[in-house]
């Protein structure tokens, strides 16, 4: 089938992009390169500018400064309708006055394609999303998931150079969301189209994207594969946004040839001496901490504390342990019969040195 045959994948390069709404700066100094055929995610909280960035690629919103290139062509000055960049809107934006068929055929009609060919392509696209039987319905007669698929079909039927998805799953219920996620990924892999996906849900970004960019306050915080970002966040924001984490602020000081991080709460953690004299935070994930009643492993960093509260989350038990002035979250795998620590119980937390990650600030 012609549609399923792979399209020529393009490389997207964004160079020093700035966008402001009036005097409010929304995006600043965006530099980004997305590889041909890559499934790329923009991840960030609401107001981070991720949707604005996506819309700028499609040509919507205020005129940006900087360059947006597809392969070697600068598309920055082009109006939206000349970019050939497909976008699926958060609310699907199906036109209520047109039937499903007319909705999907719209882009092809704009290209002045012959009627017969339009019919064929519409059928292919609808078959691809498995909804050809709804061809004569109107959008108001479709469920949310169906609307989503129609919106997707409407976009890919024109074989755009890029596929942009603006929070496509946010209006769906949880089960459908997982299903759609898989379907979208399958479709993308089949088409080989360079794809950008905007989301505020890190799990969604992790599962679906090859690489992602984390945005906050209009600035790209970090770009990389989901695993890389999880393990090596460059700042507190990224560390936090990609998953639950413990963070202790403090100074790195050297004395007697030993380099130590001294936390504000009086926690001391030995560190690599190259970091001497820095201020920053030490980051470690809850699941990388062992909890015991006494010191078990001398080579680990051991912290004394008292259990403040606990939550049972299913596969893990999450303890909040008071260490000095701060609380540290500890996730302990749960198995039948395993000891559960009680509130007010004195414990020792053990963290292997390599699980500790210092972020200089």
């Amino acid at each position: 089938m012609s549609l399923v045959s792979r399209v020529k994948a393009v490389r997207l390069r964004i160079e020093d992009l700035h966008i402001s709404f009036g005097s409010t700066k929304v995006l600043e100094g965006i530099n980004l390169e997305i590889e041909p055929g890559e499934f790329f995610a923009f991840l960030g909280p609401s107001g981070s500018g991720k949707s604005t960035l996506l819309r700028a690629i499609a040509g919507f919103g205020p005129d940006p400064q900087g360059k947006i290139r597809i392969d070697d062509e600068d598309i920055g000055g082009l109006p939206p309708w000349k970019r050939n960049v497909g976008m699926v809107f958060q609310n699907y934006a199906l036109w209520p006055h047109l039937s499903v068929e007319k909705n999907v055929a719209f882009g092809l009609e704009e290209q002045k394609m012959a009627k017969a060919e339009i019919g064929e392509r519409v059928k292919e696209a609808l078959d691809l999303v498995g909804l050809y039987h709804l061809v004569n319905r109107h959008p108001s007669q479709l469920s949310g998931g169906q609307q989503q698929r129609i919106a997707l079909a409407r976009t890919i039927v024109t074989r755009p150079r890029l596929l942009l998805l603006d929070e496509p799953l946010s209006n769906l219920d949880a089960n459908l969301r997982v299903q759609m996620r898989t379907d979208i990924l399958k479709l993308q892999r089949a088409l080989g189209m360079t794809t950008i996906f905007v989301t505020h849900d890190q799990e969604e970004a992790n599962t679906i994207s090859d690489r992602m960019a984390v945005l906050d306050k209009g600035i790209i915080q970090q770009v990389g594969s989901p695993l890389d970002l999880y393990d090596n966040p460059v700042n507190r924001f990224v560390a936090h946004f990609l998953g639950t984490t413990n963070m202790i602020e403090g100074e790195v000081v050297s004395s007697d040839g030993k380099t130590c991080f001294i936390g504000k709460e009086g926690i001391e953690i030995p560190l690599d001496n190259s970091l001497d004299g820095n201020h920053g935070v030490v980051v470690f994930r809850p699941q990388s901490i062992q909890i015991n009643t006494k010191i078990v492993d001398d080579s680990a960093v051991n912290l004394d504390g008292v259990v403040d509260s606990l939550e049972f989350l299913g596969s893990v038990v999450r303890y909040s342990v008071r260490v000095g002035d701060s609380n540290i979250l500890v996730d302990q795998d749960h198995q039948r019969g395993k000891k559960i620590f009680e509130e007010k119980e004195a414990v020792v937390l053990a963290i292997q040195a390599q699980q500790l990650f210092f972020i200089r600030e």
Binding site: P80, W81, R83, M87, Q90, W95, P96, H97, F106, G107
Partner: protein, 561 residues
């Protein structure tokens, strides 16, 4: 079922009011249409006469033609203005939207004189054309003149309703189309306009009905071969009580309802409410270079055209003598000085009457719109039909009907016939302008997604609370539009007012203009008074707009936090 009972109760009181103040008084006047003039028995022979009479058939088609062409003209004026101001960052959008309403406020008599002085056979434009090119364009001759004036006069109906609808369209609807390669006219034709259709139809239906039923314009242009003037001339000729006048009134009403019903059919199933999700509140695009220049030229040209009667009115009010010349011979403030002493009472009366009438219209319209669109009350559609039918009732018929019905009814406490109490003027204005507010409110409620109301009910709010806290605020745009159109047009209404004014101290501005425009020396002062009316109404509308908008914003920000 308390909910059920409430809606019936409201519907019944609405129906009762319409019955007392519209159906009965009008019925008392136009029953003659169904009476055999020799025996007094019921008959339809007069209607047979109507269709047998070539003059009436001709008048009927002329009215139809004028109404259709006026819709076309009004569309041509309104669409670019609405589109540019809602879709682009356009300097003075608010100004354009405000100025766009002014043509509705055409003070009686002086408006027509001003138009003639500007566009007439020997008006400024033609004198210049004659001087430069030796040509004369009959803008104001015959049906052309009526079409031109009606288009200019009533295009704000489309502008207001279409702008509201355009603002309500979810932004992503257009972006999706642009994203798929659509732009310019094609985008407008295939996506934007169809989505704004309910608003456009509401406005276009009003223009059509108004142009079809309008009496003032053809009369002032001395065009007799149309239905409304035929009815009027026959009803008001002294000593003649030709039933044909009333027959024509009945036909006007029936046809208007028919046209209304047609427009309802056309907008059925086109309920494209944004549904609350997605991004409404459009991001406006910037215009560049030639695009910008062209757009500004078009908008300024259109504004000059639609405001020409008022520009000419300004000249008339400031001019000394203006006769067969491009501009007045000289300028003076004397006319303003002359009217200054007498106007205060007129202004307060006008603001009071038009304000009360428009306020009443809005409340009534919301209630009717709600009953019609949201309840299952049997016969609910008739509330809409009957209220809208008021559009087709000549003011003079309503005036006579009120005198006939309420003169014997003494209002308690003040002990005066209801017909000579100033409140009757307010009621007459309210009834006459109800259709305007009603169409705007119905269109607005059409665009409010029912799920938003369901959400409120789901959270435990009763019907009344939901209407008050959810439905009405969401309809605010339409309510403002309705209030402004009712207010603006009520303030310059004359025909029913002239019949019902019983003392000078109760008289509104329109009456004052009439008094001045009866003598040659009164033309300047009449124009000054007319302009004061326009300014008062414009300021009043603006304040109403501003006030309601501010309330709306406050509510929005309150719910936003």
């Amino acid at each position: 079922m308390p909910r059920f009972r409430t809606s019936y109760l409201v519907a019944a009181s609405l129906a009762f009011f319409l019955l007392i103040f519209l159906v009965v008084p009008v019925g008392k006047v136009i029953y003659v249409a169904f009476q055999d003039s020799s025996t007094g028995a019921f008959t339809l022979v007069n209607f047979v006469d109507f269709f047998k009479t070539s003059l009436f058939r001709e008048s009927f088609f002329n009215s139809l033609y004028v109404a259709g062409m006026s819709v076309l003209g009004a569309t041509i004026f309104a669409v670019p203005l609405a589109y540019f101001t809602t879709r682009f960052n356009f300097g003075g959008s608010i100004l354009i939207q405000t100025l766009g309403i002014i043509p509705l406020i055409m003070p009686p008599f002086v408006g027509a004189v001003a138009m003639q002085l500007f566009f007439g056979t020997n008006g400024s434009v033609n004198l210049l054309l004659d001087q430069w090119f030796g040509i004369n364009i009959p803008f104001m001759k015959g049906l052309n003149g009526v079409i031109l004036v009606e288009s200019i006069h009533y295009f704000p109906f489309i502008l207001i309703n279409l702008s509201a609808a355009l603002n309500n369209i979810d932004r992503s609807m257009e972006e999706a189309a642009q994203n798929l390669g659509s732009s310019g006219m094609s985008l407008f034709r295939k996506i934007v306009f169809p989505l704004a259709m309910p608003g456009y139809l509401a406005g276009a239906a009003l223009v059509f009905l108004k142009a079809f039923d309008d009496l003032g314009t053809p009369l002032l242009l001395n065009v007799n071969n149309m239905l409304a003037p035929q009815a009027y001339l026959r009803i008001t000729s002294i000593g003649i009580s030709d039933p044909m006048g009333y027959v024509i009134s009945v036909i006007l009403v029936v046809f208007s309802l028919f046209a209304l019903w047609g427009s309802m059919l056309a907008s059925k199933g086109k309920d494209y409410s944004g549904g609350g999700k997605g991004t409404s509140g459009l991001l406006k695009r910037d215009l560049h270079g030639w695009e910008k220049f062209g757009a500004y030229c078009l908008v300024i040209f259109l504004l000059l055209l639609v405001l020409s009667p008022h520009i000419s009115l300004v000249l008339l009010s400031l001019g000394t003598i203006w006769s067969y010349s491009v501009l007045p011979d000289g300028y003076t403030f004397a006319h303003y000085a002359e009217v200054f002493g007498t106007t205060r009472e007129y202004i307060t009366n006008t603001l009071l009457y038009a304000g009360l009438a428009a306020g009443f219209d809005v409340v009534f319209s919301v209630a009717i719109a709600y009953i019609v669109l949201r309840t299952k009350v049997i016969g609910r559609q008739w509330l809409d039909y009957i209220a809208t039918g008021a559009l087709a009732i000549p003011g003079v018929v309503l005036g006579i009907g009120y005198l006939r019905t309420f003169n014997d009814f003494n209002v308690p406490i003040i002990d005066k016939p209801l017909a000579s109490w100033w409140v009757i003027i307010v009621i007459a204005l309210a009834i006459r302008r109800l259709p305007y507010a009603l169409r705007a409110c119905v269109a607005a409620l059409h665009q409010v997604s029912i799920s938003l109301e369901e959400a409120s009910e789901n959270l435990g709010a009763g019907k009344t609370t939901t209407v008050r806290k959810i439905t009405v605020p969401l309809m605010a745009g339409g309510i403002v539009a309705g209030f402004v159109t009712s207010f603006a047009t009520a303030a310059v209404e004359l025909s029913a007012t002239l019949m019902l004014v019983t003392s000078e101290s109760d008289a509104p501005l329109a009456y004052g203009i009439y008094v001045f425009m009866q003598s040659a020396s009164g033309r300047g002062p009449g124009a000054a008074l007319g302009l004061i009316a326009v300014v008062v109404v414009a300021v009043g509308s603006y304040l109403a707009h501003h006030f309601i908008e501010r309330n709306k914003r406050m509510q929005m920000s309150a719910t936003g936090n």
